[in-house]
Symmetry: C2
Subunit: 123 residues, 2 copies
DNA sequence: TATTCACTCAACCATTCGGTTGACTATATC
DNA sequence: GATATAGTCAACCGAATGGTTGAGTGAATA
């Protein structure tokens, strides 16, 4: 849109926004490479739905697959995850330095005011 | 869905999947607290559209607003960003430890072999 | 060869998303 | 009080999402 529009980040964030897909990613992390049916097993949806989720993850670069006979082996792919982490980690200071503590303090103060003088702050 | 479905993460990732919203977040980081109209200024869309984007960011906990007279001051909120970073950083080893280096090495080696002895490795 | 197995493709459906325009509310200013 | 300013709310629209079912493809197996 206005420059900051790296399409890969769009796809990666969008892919990770779905809990089923995050579960798939987590599963691949904890148990390593897997097949589509094995991944679909515990999930309360059709195999086709899982397959579609994997396509989304693959297009986002979060996962890669290779055919092995009649089954597709799916594995985690680091690069897109790295890009996401790098983007997010740029904002580290917003939760770990004193600005955060200050904000927390101001919030507490605001709540205090609300509690003591509700008429001026209702809603 | 299967337990790993923290709704806040859903909303945060979904919010960050849109380039306009990432731009808003970046803007708030670089220039600090701002009003809705000021944020909307450079963006090629209506004020209402920007307002809706800010609602999404707010519901995701990425941003907070406070009224100041007739204008709404919007600022970055660290917590949701922190949650996202924490989730993503769990996957650090998938791009930074020796498995990655090994993969890169093998890839380089494969290319090298291809280049020096193409007949034995033609796809 | 016939059949099962692993998986994708295609069509469909309801819901959500990102944008628009128009009307409204509330604060500031003349 | 009249008017401009800052912003939301509501209705609408087209496109994308997340799921379904049914059919098709290609590899393993009997």
């Amino acid at each position: 849109m206005v420059e900051h529009c790296e399409p890969s980040l769009n796809q990666a964030f969008a892919a990770l926004a779905d809990p089923t897909r995050r579960w798939l990613v987590a599963r691949l992390r904890s148990r390593g490479e897997s097949t589509v049916t094995a991944l679909a097993g515990p999930l309360p949806m059709s195999l086709q739905a899982v397959s579609k989720h994997l396509v989304v993850l693959e297009r986002a670069g979060l996962v890669r697959r290779r055919r092995a006979g009649r089954e597709h082996r799916v594995a985690l792919e680091g690069r897109a995850l790295k890009a996401v982490a790098e983007w997010v980690n740029e904002y580290q200071r917003f939760w770990e330095d004193r600005l955060d503590a200050l904000a927390a303090h101001m919030e507490r103060q605001a709540l205090e005011i609300e509690r003591t003088d509700p008429k001026e702050h209702q809603q």
